[in-house]
């Protein structure tokens, strides 16, 4: 199975690569401005976070991610967006991203609203690590999978497509069940 990490400039993008590699997946970090042909043969894509402020309309650093996403949707390839990657997905699907009312830096208690494939087998509440300035406030066509005290849409899934997003970072060591979240995503990619 081949799942690539699209590098939007996050401090932790390489950790996503490491998690996937440790889970025996063929993986590679791909710059966000790569040609579409570089990611057309994959079984799944993960958009990393990044310093881009999607909430302020700054999406230039996302490079060709829009094309990657459209093409993945067309081919039915699962996509997981992390942090700015999640925000970018929301925006691309006509949602709204704003500077967060309460930016979270560090430990956050995540409350799972919908234990679908991404949070399958995980507790109702667990501690995750977040580091974000913006948040998704509207995501039409998406179902909220988890929230925190200060952020309503912490994780989402498209109602009919295998498109997922988490505002928190499942790849960092201080997120509980982070590996399980990636395992669950990979299960979707395998289908």
């Amino acid at each position: 199975m081949k799942v690539f990490v699209v590098d939007l400039g996050s401090q932790w993008g390489h950790l996503i690569y490491r998690r996937l590699r440790d889970l025996d997946v063929e993986t590679k970090m791909v710059p966000a401005d790569s040609p579409l042909s570089d990611v057309e043969t994959v079984d799944g894509l993960v958009f990393s976070g990044g310093a881009l402020r999607v909430g302020k309309g700054e999406t230039e650093m996302a490079g060709n991610c829009g094309l990657f996403l459209d093409s993945a949707v067309e081919r039915g390839t699962p996509v997981l967006g992390v942090c700015a990657g999640q925000q970018f997905i929301a925006l691309r699907f006509g949602g709204e991203v704003r500077p967060a009312k309460v930016p979270e830096y560090g430990n956050v208690e995540l409350v799972v609203d919908y234990a679908n494939d991404l949070f399958q087998g995980l507790p109702e509440k667990f501690t995750v690590f977040a580091s974000h300035n913006d948040e998704v406030v509207k995501a039409p066509g998406f179902k909220t999978l988890a929230h925190s005290k200060d952020v309503a849409i912490h994780a989402f899934k498209h109602e009919s497509k295998a498109i997922y997003g988490t505002l928190f970072h499942p790849e960092v060591a201080h997120t509980q069940y982070g590996t399980e979240v990636y395992e669950n995503f990979l299960r979707v990619c395998k289908r």
């Binding site: 590098d7 939007l8 400039g9 996050s10 401090q11 932790w12 993008g13 390489h14 950790l15 490491r18 590699r21 440790d22 025996d24 710059p31 966000a32 990044g50 310093a51 881009l52 650093m61 490079g63 830096y105 560090g106 430990n107 690590f129 580091s131 960092v172 060591a173 201080h174």
Partner: protein, 316 residues
């Protein structure tokens, strides 16, 4: 595939064997550069020349520690004393990024001088993933310029080789174990190249570094003792920082206006996310007492209770 240290060691030695000339390697005594030195030594033998630079920013007893480690490994190293040059290049510098870049540049100048001597073509470095990630480039924001990446000058004559740049600390430690790299538990913590220069906030002077060095020695000594007595686990990284803030104190009925030391101690797997250590108060108290009694210029000791993010491990 889950990380396999032995496979990595084999592949890495094969890669290093391809270097067609003399290579110098920058060693600090820390696990990253020591692992690289062992790998490169297996691949290159006498074509490898390890260099240890005494910047003047080293911790108490660090030169002896490095000598001991490499003696046990049976690898001979060249020690270059360059503290005069390093202090001179930081004169008047207070910005942390400028500090790191000046130090990086000075390291390269020292290495180039030695390389010329030895007719070396390559510079091997123990750069690991957090170093280049945090140094930023392109769309990745620069959090701090690690001296061995963002601190490198744009023009240099040596070809840089980084055998473990895709790895994290825990993976490097797994390799170190396989290679039987000797480790003195008291010294088992990351040792950033800029050393005490980034633990002295503001301008770096010999006097301030000396004060910071003593405070660091006390922190290392007390935490290690507490660990040996079973009061706590040894944290992943722990040190003292000399702040720029002076505060009012009272010493023997006399008003004092002295320096402030901050203690930092953290727990982490890969240094990308970090929690501050919950050191027992009794241990913190002993550290505070010793620092303020043994170092008269210091009359206040603080403990840093911030995770990364939002903070970073080192203050600068």
């Amino acid at each position: 595939m889950a990380f396999n240290p032995n496979e990595f060691i084999e592949q890495s030695i094969e890669e290093l064997k391809k270097l067609d000339g003399t290579a110098i390697i920058a060693v600090s005594g820390g696990v990253d550069s020591t692992v690289c030195a062992v790998l490169a030594n297996s691949a290159l033998g006498p074509k490898l020349k390890p260099i240890f630079v005494d910047t003047g920013f080293l911790r108490k007893g660090e030169v002896e520690q490095v000598k001991k480690v490499f003696k046990e490994l049976g690898i001979s190293i060249v020690i270059v004393e360059a503290s005069k040059e390093f202090f001179a290049c930081l004169k008047g510098v207070i910005d942390p990024e400028e500090k790191r870049k000046k130090i990086g540049g000075m390291f390269i100048r020292v290495f180039e001088k030695e390389a010329k001597h030895l007719n070396a073509k390559y510079l091997i470095q123990g750069t690991i993933a957090p170093d280049w990630i945090e140094s930023g480039s392109g769309i990745r924001d620069t959090i701090k310029s690690h001296h061995n990446v963002g601190g490198l000058p744009t023009q240099m004559n040596l070809i840089v080789v980084e055998p473990i740049r895709d790895l994290y600390k825990d993976e490097v430690r797994a390799i170190a174990k396989e290679l039987a790299v000797p480790k003195d538990p008291a010294w088992k913590q990351p040792s950033p190249g800029p050393g005490l220069a980034i633990r002295v906030i503001g301008e770096v002077t010999r006097e301030k570094v000396a004060l910071c060095r003593e405070a660091n020695a006390i922190v290392m000594d007390e935490l290690f003792k507490a660990f040996e007595f079973g009061e706590m686990e040894l944290p992943q990284q722990y040190f003292a920082v000399l702040l720029e803030t002076k505060t009012t104190g009272v010493q023997g009925d006399v008003r004092a206006y002295g320096h402030t030391i901050a203690i930092r101690s953290v727990e982490t797997k890969d240094l990308m996310t970090v929690e501050y250590s919950k050191i027992p108060h009794t241990v913190l108290h002993r550290i505070s007492l010793r620092i303020t009694n043994e170092l008269k210029q210091i009359n206040r000791v603080l403990y840093d209770v911030t995770h990364k993010p939002p903070a970073t491990v080192e203050f600068e």
